[in-house]
Symmetry: C2
Subunit: 158 residues, 2 copies
């Protein structure tokens, strides 16, 4: 338990992807993450809702806790129950998850996803997740290039 994608180390440069995949690259990880974003907090809830095998769910939850994506916290009112809840690190996976989901929706078998992620303020659906330039323009692949770090013109980035 704990190696998984070590050999992915580099395939043309250093990259955060292998690290991300080490945490989230297993079969059910994203589905569990989505369940967490949907407000499911307990083992049995998730098991019932996802239909995942119990041992795998236990293993994945353990791993997500180990990587700091979920927090494991016994409930005070019913001490059999354990709450899994998203940490800040877990919450910051939302753009990746939504991007994936939108892609699946766009190219999938037609059906729109439900429920829809909406701005709390006006209850309108969020935009499609895209790549944006510093000035805010949305960019497609043909608008982009890879630049070596050493060649970056520093400019108080981010």
């Amino acid at each position: 338990m704990g190696k998984l994608i070590e050999n992915l180390a580099d395939g043309g440069g250093e990259c955060g992807l292998p690290h991300a995949l080490e945490a989230m690259g297993e079969r059910w990880s994203f589905m569990i993450l989505r369940a967490a974003f949907n407000g499911l907090k307990h083992f049995e809830e998730m098991q019932a809702s996802l239909g995942i095998a119990r041992n795998i769910l236990a293993n994945r939850l353990g791993r997500l806790v180990a990587t700091g994506i979920l927090e494991r916290q016994p409930c005070p009112d019913d001490r059999r129950k354990i709450e899994y809840r998203l940490t800040a690190k877990g919450e910051s996976l939302l753009p990746a998850m939504i991007a994936l989901r939108q892609w699946g929706e766009r190219w999938g078998d037609g059906g729109l996803s439900n429920p829809v992620l909406c701005d709390r303020r006006d209850r309108q659906p969020v935009q499609r997740v895209r790549i944006h330039a510093q000035d805010g323009r949305a960019l497609d692949w043909h608008d982009l290039t890879w630049v070596d770090q050493s060649e970056l013109v520093s400019e108080a980035a981010e």
Copy 2:
């Protein structure tokens, strides 16, 4: 070969995620996609750069072609060679891949990714991938809610 994540079907609503994961949920898929975005086109190039087993690479490339993410095209000049190149469907995975990579970079072992994805126009790095409201505001998890499709106020969306 070919079922993988069929049971993921629904875990609290319809969702594009399972479809996305069916295409991209396997261990090496995202690494191969990244290789493709980095300009690698041939089997041997990818094999050498990723260090993946040949049978798995063959299998994954086959699957990525089957799902329409890559196109397989024999080279006219050297007919042993085969070019794998991104389709529009594959290109549209870029936001998901970059979101994942940025997450890994942010929470990973420190090292910045290299090379950096930049706006071709000014060679400045792209922004962090985020969720945006219709009016363009960047939103975090606590600014968002799930809304059932039936409750959406239609307004000539997107």
